[in-house]
Symmetry: D3
Subunit: 237 residues, 6 copies
């Protein structure tokens, strides 16, 4: 399980910074493309991935009554995704019909789930925009899901927004979008990202004060020393 300290650290860093940490380790494809926050103020979102996979609908199978089956994978996921996790839906990037709507998101929120992500679209987005529950999608999509989507299974490796998502990967969302951290790297990347974030806070102050970027960003040894001094000063009681 993702430790509380790691979760808190990740809530304090941006998805942009995380992509830089991942790039240093050779990961070039970790930010979900075309996936946006419905309600940016609800964030940040941090949690391990619980996955749900959609395939295209078939007219004889995907009817509204299919939702009466308690094992229907979409409804199963909504009731079984553990608290603190992020429900990630592979909608094949197809936002022409809804991946879920406000009632399901409310249920997830009440159950303590950390957030929801789809590379398709949600319906009832005016309501979702007011929920204090982080939700990320491509674009609003009113049409009922079975028009295009069939929920196939849960907790399998999936793709979402063009990125591989394995169950348990750490999902982080902010006002910009969503990044996927391979599970085994989450702690070390959280640490490094927190460091970078603090450095960039100091850089921001320097830049607003008129300082030029060369030697500052990326850091020269001189800048690094100045930063360490600032950091110590600021941590002093």
């Amino acid at each position: 399980m993702l430790g509380e300290a790691c979760r808190e650290t990740l809530e304090g860093v941006s998805t942009a910074t995380l992509t830089t940490c991942l790039f240093k380790r050779g990961f070039r494809n970790c930010f979900l493309q075309n996936v946006h926050p419905v309600n940016p103020a609800a964030g940040p979102m941090v949690g391990e991935a619980y996955t749900l996979r959609f395939i295209p609908a078939r007219e004889d199978i995907d009817v509204l009554d299919a939702y009466r089956d308690p094992d229907h994978p979409q409804r199963f996921a909504v009731e079984h995704c553990p608290p603190g996790r992020v429900l990630v839906i592979d909608s094949r990037g197809d936002a022409r019909a809804a991946s879920a709507g406000d009632i399901l998101l409310t249920r997830l929120m009440v159950r303590g789930v950390a957030g929801i992500v789809t590379d398709g679209g949600f319906r009832d987005t005016p309501e979702i925009a007011r929920l204090p529950f982080p939700a990320y999608h491509q674009r609003p999509s009113a049409p009922t899901g079975p028009i295009l989507h069939h929920a196939a299974d849960v907790q399998q490796p999936i793709g979402c927004g063009g990125v591989a998502v394995y169950p348990g990967d750490v999902i982080v969302g902010d006002g910009e979008g969503v990044v996927v951290l391979p599970r085994h790297l989450a702690e070390e990347i959280a640490e490094e990202a927190a460091e970078m974030t603090l450095y960039e806070e100091w850089v921001g102050q320097q830049v607003r004060g008129g300082r030029a970027l060369p030697g500052l960003y990326p850091a020269s040894e001189e800048s690094r020393r100045q930063f360490e001094a600032w950091r110590k000063a600021r941590e002093r009681p």
Copy 2:
């Protein structure tokens, strides 16, 4: 003509709910794709469709002076679309030049038209965002229309956002987008959607109170009874 009661009922339901009612009757393609509200606060929008059709521009025909012709179909539509109707423009999904701008929309608003929809883009969108007149489009588009669009005719069947629109179809818009109801089904669908909306209001209360979805959504007979009790209690004086 669309009755006032039906109009009011439709103003109280969401496009999402309407797509579900239509799906039950075999309609899978009734929500305009890639068409978004410019000014979500101006809605809801309900009215019968008055259609305007664009084809690609031709350089020798589509010049600014063409607008001097009072029979120019775009200008004709703006002056002749009856009050209470929705002007729906087939822009072939091309938002690289404008379908209309704030002056035309203001004129439509003053004339009592119910709203305007295009699958292209509007210009002057910062102004349109402040008009109390529902307007739906793909994305802002400053370039003047004749660069790409030629207004061909009015009141013919068209496509908009990938959906068939026949003159007189009932167009409903909310904060999520726009749905097209075949004219002959509008009343019965309005009734059904209002029923569903009330049931979902009760479901929302239940879910916020911690109840699980199975048996609730979709409704079991037991849930249906509980809902009816709630409904009666609430209607009691």
Copy 3:
């Protein structure tokens, strides 16, 4: 250099009006497609173009340490784009990795640059949305730039949003988007656009008062006379 009077005039007209003036002169492709304001309240933006060109990244060249080179064209541009200019980046319309982030934009702002435009995406967009510095892009993009972009050179003719941009062209941005004025036409177009804007202000009043469009927009001689009277009245002390 762009005169202060011309700059002020251009700050008072819309990109929509400018595209009409350009269309009258045969220019059909001057509005950047799929380029949107990050922070519409920061505008308007007016300045001559200073260009930066990206090509696709190559794994052995485009590493984070490349930013240590003070001649790295992206960093060079940020330090050398003259005050009052607009930095325009040709990102080949690829928003899958960032063209720049909030630290670089802050530096540009502090240096007095007039704004920044890319047909890719910015990272740190929640921060950029709060900067009083006009910034235009396609969509938020957290991934660090070298994943996809290599900064090749500055001050060469480029394409951005499908439009040719020559160094020195006049770039105008408003709440709708960005238009490119060929340098030699900027003054005459600014004049004409200001005239049109005044006329459209009067038209707006007329339309809100209930007047129909034929003879008004486009203007008949009669309307032109009425407008001139209104204009004189309003300029009278």
Copy 4:
């Protein structure tokens, strides 16, 4: 009606050359985008446009039995498009279901129609590839038409491949694709294109013989004289 001489002239020039002649007259958008020959050997194709317009299908209207109506616009067009004309179908660029199949194309061929064009797709393309009847489309598409298309009307102005097509415009197809000539310019453009074609034949000989392009293409006065001499020599008995 298009004269036989003009038709023959147009059969001897390429669509590439015709776009150049049109560009000289200010026409920039006359070549159908994403429209390709199914059977390049069947060409060239020349004829005046007879237009057919599709809009999106609606499930309750667009059923297979709709084809029993002799006034169904697609079937009407197949039986009424006059010999020598080209049937041009506006399929809204949607090739996910068929615009027509081999039986309809065979009927058109037998009736003496000059060819068929759609910006959607044909079905039965292996058979169509063997018909001596010019056919142009986007890509093969097996699904039966009513899944997506509703035939709305004939002989109205349409768009096809992003280009305006008015009934009577002259349609020319070769192994590369399809160009639209405004009716009133067809004769003068045919003449000019034939001239250019002859000049380019001579240029081709010169280039294959090792001559450089400057002064040759475009022509200098000297080259023009050499060409005229070659032309005279070749016309001499």
Copy 5:
């Protein structure tokens, strides 16, 4: 298992005809979009689906050595797909890297597999074009698979070309593309399609002989009688 008679019947009908039979039963989405034959002469292809699912690659997992694992799902599928089946790969419609190449296809052919389908691309397509083994894809794609694809599992329900494919569904490919028949309908649809094919053969003769379409296609009762007479005559010894 698919019976030999049914297989033979399906080899004699076109994917176009099959989509019509499916549409009559309410199936609107059964033809793989953007999937084309590499080697049309190798067909027809008929067999039950054996499925393979790709998700996006991750840089630390998807390296060339991963192919050394005999349980690597792509290699497992190539060795275990039973003879007579069609290997269908869900490549998420991403043809930027290869789904497979000529060596794997040769192995499948030698093992008696009926064909292969991907909605991505194959590499070594010049070689595949010469193999007598039906192969369908989007477009040629030389880059090695692990650049973008990770083989996740086999024999799960997938999407391919936008269509649901369940293991055991009957896959039919011809010179036009690929259609998916729900397993339980394959026999009845094969019968009906064979009937339609024979009728269309007769219609083709009639049309080539000059007969008009009304009453012929779709068939009137009179046409149906004439067809039956022709059929009997032709079956007579």
Copy 6:
């Protein structure tokens, strides 16, 4: 300069094999996307890149007479690209107007240039398909270039088909498409690719003979020994 031995080696390997060699060295993006051979039989193509860059056209600059300027970069490139090189054009992936036509390609062929590549389209493709000169593009495009393209400069780093191309990089084309080799790696990659090609020839024989893939592809030590024996046997006189 690229040595003759290296050129010959590269002519004997496939672009697919080259992408594998590049992937082993960390290069994931070296195959031009959406770029296809016009005349596959003309290949293979090997040569160092000579680059030409297009930006979007501007109506007042990009007129037909611009071609009269001998320094027009497109015409300059055609006359100055050295023999043995490949002319690579950055057309911004825009195939709506032509990058070049048959006369320019003939001139390049006569001058001994090794081939031409664009990520846009060529015109006169029926003629180009018959030229013994390798040409790669996206799709046929009849419209004359200045409608959309302005030739900006030569021998600058560019992007083509989404891949970085530096002047001097080694360009290899076969029946599948085009790959870019960083100049300094060309020789070592050519060697490795030739080795792989020989191994795959032997694998192909084994597979056609019925051998399974595990242990063969990728190679086990045992397979490697068998291959070496075969190789020696075959090299023996």
